[in-house]
Amino acid sequence: MDFNFTEEQTMLRDMVRKFVDKEIKPLAQQIDKEHNVDLVKSIFKKGSALGLYGTPFPEAYGGSGMGETGYAILIEELSRGCASTSVTIGAHIGLAGMSILIGGNEEQKKKYLSSIASGEKMGAYALTEPGAGSDAASLQLSAKEEGDDYILNGTKLWITNGDIADIIVVYGLTNPELKARGGITAFIVEAPSAGFSANRIEDKMGLRGSATAELVFENVRVPKENVLGKVGMGFAIAMETLDESRLSLAAACIGAAKEVLSMSVDFSKKRVAFKQAIASFQAIQFMIADMSAEIYQMESIVYRTAWLYDQGKKIPREGAICKLFCSEALDRIVDKAVQIHGGNGFMGEHPVERFYRDSRVNRIFEGTSEIQRMVIAEDVIKNGSD
């Protein structure tokens, strides 16, 4: 057993940390206050010059072959700075890119995955619909075969990067009878496309600098060669992609948790009450201890699971456990962080307030906590407790 990061993994962490400290942290408050997607896009561009988006992908497609572990390191570090930026990059790599890596044929990977890895094109993943969130299998977007094309009609909702992406992996219904059992197909849709439009959704509790959009498909023609994998394989691709991306979402929670812990420690050493730094009070110390203990657990399960995934193991249960535990732990941690900061923590000028708002969605998107519990329980009951 070896829990050490390799030299390359350590260098990746150091490099991303430097990048976050210099290029992202100074802008994070502004990004949030102004809902400034343009700033996030400019950071995205700088990141592509460093080759960040190829982290998990094989070298054959312009990646660096650093696997899920490398990807988790990248996302953890990005999340120390700005959740909006981290989610933008996460949807690009972990949802759009991973869908293509998991489901795509050689030609599709060469054409689309390479441009995602280089950052030349931005990716999005469109599964959720107004009437299909947790119950993804009941999606309605229709995809009808017509000559050499499929014609897409319907609406997708709350799609990260939806209105700024160039490549969108869209899940549609090719056979309404079969539904999730072979009736759902994934398509690679290039934007702009005739009949495709995207409307930005601005009013969110957090992630205010990440572009969230409603996507409308009105007779959008997609060539058959852009069917990801095979017709009817869409649901399997969507679910396997989510297994992996749930893990990176958990990694994002670690970064945010470490950042607010560090802010809380700094604050508690400086803030004086009753003539002493509040760090000297046991009530504050216990909160710091609990935060630190949870972070240790988060790190332990996420990197263990990333390692498993890199060994080629499928991780439906483990990914769900990481996502469930880390998103809920993060909420407990940001809550304590705000408590330690007192009135300051309630004020918009303090970054801890932003982390508090940005954290909440982690228990909801990419499968709610309730869905994670269902996934875990189903797997444990079916396959045993080990």
Partner: protein, 264 residues
């Protein structure tokens, strides 16, 4: 241009530094290390010159134990072509003079046109090595540069350095040594492909015997300078709050300044 950048691995800037128990070094437990930020300016300037001229080579050079390989690998990841790691147990405890001799011996092995150092290392702040090496190698140097222009055909360079209230512009013939000051450039980040390639780039490990330097001659007993003590600055005593009405407080303050602080 054949360019060398001498670098030192130093404790990360955010590290909490404490004297070691024997009081002659710092306590190194749990410290994380980085490439000395001033030395990064040297590496970056080397890479920029190589890019501008469209050819050349940048060699990163360092002295120290096993761990120093990580710092050199970082230099390779940002774009240096090769690295030289001088590693020898006998160097433990060597003083600045010995370090300069060792570096000069290593630098003499190749015909470098330009040799960069940081203006100082952020750990001991001695600021001596680059200038010392210039002396030992008989090369001209400019210390603390914040701008550099190379005229390759004439084997010349023009360097700027900031002095009190003015900029000094110095012309110098190559080969030469420069120590780098903040403002010279903005060091680039390692790229991910750069990180992946770093391990494949050549890293030569040299011992003292490779450099024809006797272990004995760099021994701490032969040191020309010796660190006697490293100690933390004295803790600041708490301030005094003078209570009372403004006129009483001022009277009391004057009394204290006169009688206690003895500054009036």
């Amino acid at each position: 241009m054949n360019i060398a950048a001498c670098i030192k691995q130093v404790p990360a800037t955010e590290s909490k530094i404490r004297p070691s128990t024997d009081g002659k070094d710092i306590d190194r437990t749990g410290l994380s290390y980085v490439v000395n930020p001033y030395d990064e300016f040297g590496v970056e300037e080397g890479l920029k010159i190589k890019e501008q001229l469209g050819d050349g080579s940048v060699t990163a050079i360092s002295i120290g134990g096993e761990k120093v390989a990580e710092a050199l690998r970082t230099c390779l990841a940002v774009g240096s072509d090769q690295a030289i790691h001088i590693q020898d147990d006998a160097i433990e405890g060597s003083d600045g003079h010995a370090i300069a001799r060792i570096l000069a011996a290593a630098l003499k092995k190749s015909d470098y046109d330009i040799i960069f150092f940081g203006r100082q290392a952020i750990d001991d702040d001695s600021g001596a090595i680059g200038i010392h090496v210039a002396d030992l190698m008989g090369l001209p140097h400019v210390a603390g540069i914040n701008k550099l222009e190379i005229i390759p055909d004439e084997k010349r360079a023009v360097a700027n350095r900031q002095i009190e209230g003015a900029t000094e512009v110095i012309e110098i013939s190559l080969p030469a040594i420069f120590t780098c000051q903040k403002g010279l450039n903005e060091p680039r980040y390692a790229s991910l492909p750069g990180i992946m390639k770093a391990k494949q780039k050549p890293m030569t490990v040299l011992s003292l015997s490779d450099l024809e330097i006797s272990a004995d001659s760099v021994d701490s007993s032969k040191a020309k300078t010796t660190v006697i003590k490293i100690e933390s600055p004295p803790a600041r005593s708490a301030g005094i709050i003078i209570e009372g009405s403004p006129s009483e407080a001022v009277a009391e303050l004057i009394r204290l300044l006169r009688e206690e602080a003895k500054v009036l």
